[in-house]
């Protein structure tokens, strides 16, 4: 490979890896935020068990993205086949539903209950929508305390729909970051001209470099500031915008020196 082309390729690959790493840094707190919102909403709806299921693939399968409650560890990342049970119906129909006596034959949770010993008795399920598309399902299982439970009320269904709106925005951001990361991974692994061993060594060197670590530290810092609130986000945006503007108007080299 001619030297100029090699350098060009190396620069592109470096930018790609940096983007993937930043996407990874951004995705992780999104799932944490989804889980936090799930906890807040579950407390408001007086339920301890709640899940966010997201559409996986073209067939309408659902995957547990975030789960709280006794059986969270068993459910996380588990897949519900397309069209199965209450969640499958809510995904395909867009209609929120509450079932107050799920019973033993409820296809999906019956299987989970057998392995965990947990007893699913009630489900409230509502769709997660973004820009008119149904991207997943929000579910609440049982109430706090011991059975028998009072059925979920129409007012709680309305509350769940409002929480679903907020959670759907986070899920969409998570999906976008994930999609970008997967596409980048694909580019890296499917290029036949790439020598995988060499790429790994190169990647190791890049990720160990002080410059890359500093860039990741900066991404973490921005993420931290962004999580503090609207005022902090606004100030951060203005300060960084001013720095960029000043940099554009100065010399070709960095304008800051320490």
């Amino acid at each position: 490979m001619p030297e100029a082309n090699e350098n060009d390729f190396s620069a592109k690959l470096r930018r790609l890896v940096e983007t993937i790493d930043i996407a990874n840094i951004l995705t992780e707190p999104l799932t944490q935020s989804i889980t936090n919102l799930l906890k807040i909403s579950a407390a408001d709806i007086n339920s301890d068990e709640a899940s966010v299921l997201i559409r996986e693939g073209d067939q309408g399968d659902l995957r547990f993205l975030a789960v709280i409650g006794e059986v969270a560890e068993h459910l996380i990342n588990m897949t519900v086949p397309a069209g199965k049970g209450i969640a499958g119906f809510v995904l395909s129909s867009g209609q929120p539903i509450a079932v107050s006596d799920v019973g033993e034959d409820e296809t999906f949770y019956a299987e989970v209950d057998k392995t965990t010993g947990y007893l699913t008795q009630m489900i409230l399920a509502t769709p997660l929508r973004h820009n008119g598309e149904i991207i997943g399902v929000l579910e609440y299982i049982n109430r706090r305390g011991d059975a028998p439970f009072e059925p979920f009320t129409p007012a709680e269904m309305d509350k769940a729909a409002m929480f679903a709106d907020a959670i759907a925005s986070l899920v969409n951001a998570y999906e976008s970051a994930k999609l970008f990361r997967e596409l980048s991974d694909k580019v890296l692994t499917e290029d036949e001209n790439l020598n995988v061993a060499e790429v790994r060594i190169w990647l190791g060197g890049l990720r160990d470099s002080a410059e890359h670590r500093e860039m990741m530290d900066l991404a973490v810092l921005i993420r931290e500031i962004a999580s503090r609130g609207d005022a902090e986000r606004q100030m951060c945006r203005e300060v960084l915008g001013a720095v960029l503007k000043y940099s554009d108007s100065s010399s070709e080299t960095s304008f800051l020196s320490f």
Partner: protein, 269 residues
């Protein structure tokens, strides 16, 4: 006696009264009235439904088109069976037709839903239960066209409203279909009317006990279960008054709802 105009008979000319309903529909059974349930399929072996399902078809993609084949796959989600159970309870002799558009198979949710509605209109089923909806803007126009076709064919489409803070199609189309939202009422025949609201009718939809696949029953809450109540009532009306048009059915429902609500006066928002 329900006078559809809503006025006392003596206060207006006889020509102003288009038709009158006696209360015989309350003891009807929906005999001979065809009802389509566009949903997740129906468990045809359920004791509440055995012998009542005249047809079960299922959507399938063939050369990028959706076609319908006879189906014996039942109902993997439970929703269609639950809706059928409510209709059969109110109108036990109605002829039910299951049009399965939800389930496994990668069908685009809106596409299959539209194809199922079109199938029911082409077959000229008298009442069509749509306890489904879509918020995808691209389906707005095709749904409008289909509902106009239904209206012209004399098919009465009843759709469940959505609880969500977005417009859901077709439940927001008020001219050519009947849309329903749940109430906490427990008497299945006691429905209400919200004049001036996008969602026009209220019907029982909270903790409704109905059929569930496998032979059992479930207590369910949602607008999905309010919709089949109105479908069942329309089947009763059509048994007694088979020539009613969609417009007349709407007027009749309005008058009955006013009576149910104990309000005989004509009001405007």
């Amino acid at each position: 006696m329900t006078t559809v105009s809503g006025f006392e008979q003596t206060s207006i000319s006889p020509q102003a009264i288009y038709f009158q309903l006696d209360d015989s529909w309350r003891s009807a059974s929906g005999k001979g009235v065809s009802v389509a349930i566009v949903d997740s399929g129906i468990d045809t072996d359920h004791p509440n439904l055995a012998g009542k399902i005249l047809e079960s078809v299922e959507a399938r993609v063939e050369n990028k088109r959706i076609v319908f084949d006879p189906s014996d796959n039942g109902d993997s989600a439970g929703h269609g069976t639950a809706c059928a159970g409510i209709i059969a309870k109110i109108a036990p002799e109605a002829e039910l037709h299951s049009i399965k558009v939800l389930g496994a198979g990668g069908l685009g949710d809106g596409q299959a839903f539209l194809a199922g509605l079109e199938y029911a209109i082409k077959k000229r089923y008298r009442v069509i239960n749509l306890s489904l909806g879509t918020t995808k803007p691209q389906f707005f126009s095709p749904l409008h066209d289909l509902l106009d076709r239904a209206y012209q064919a004399g098919s009465i489409v009843v759709a469940a409203a959505n609880n969500l803070p977005y417009p859901s199609f077709p439940s927001v189309f008020s001219s050519s279909l009947i849309s329903v939202i749940k109430s906490e009422e427990t008497d299945p025949l006691n429905f209400g009317f919200h004049y001036g609201e996008v969602i026009e009718l209220t019907a029982p939809g909270v903790n409704v006990r109905t059929a569930w696949p496998g032979g059992g029953h479930r207590n369910l809450t949602g607008n999905s279960f309010a919709c089949p109540h109105i479908v069942g009532i329309i089947a009763l009306l059509l048994e007694k008054y088979p020539d009613l048009t969609p417009f007349q059915i709407k007027s009749a429902l309005y008058s009955i709802a006013k009576e149910n609500q104990g309000d005989d006066t004509e009001t405007r928002p």
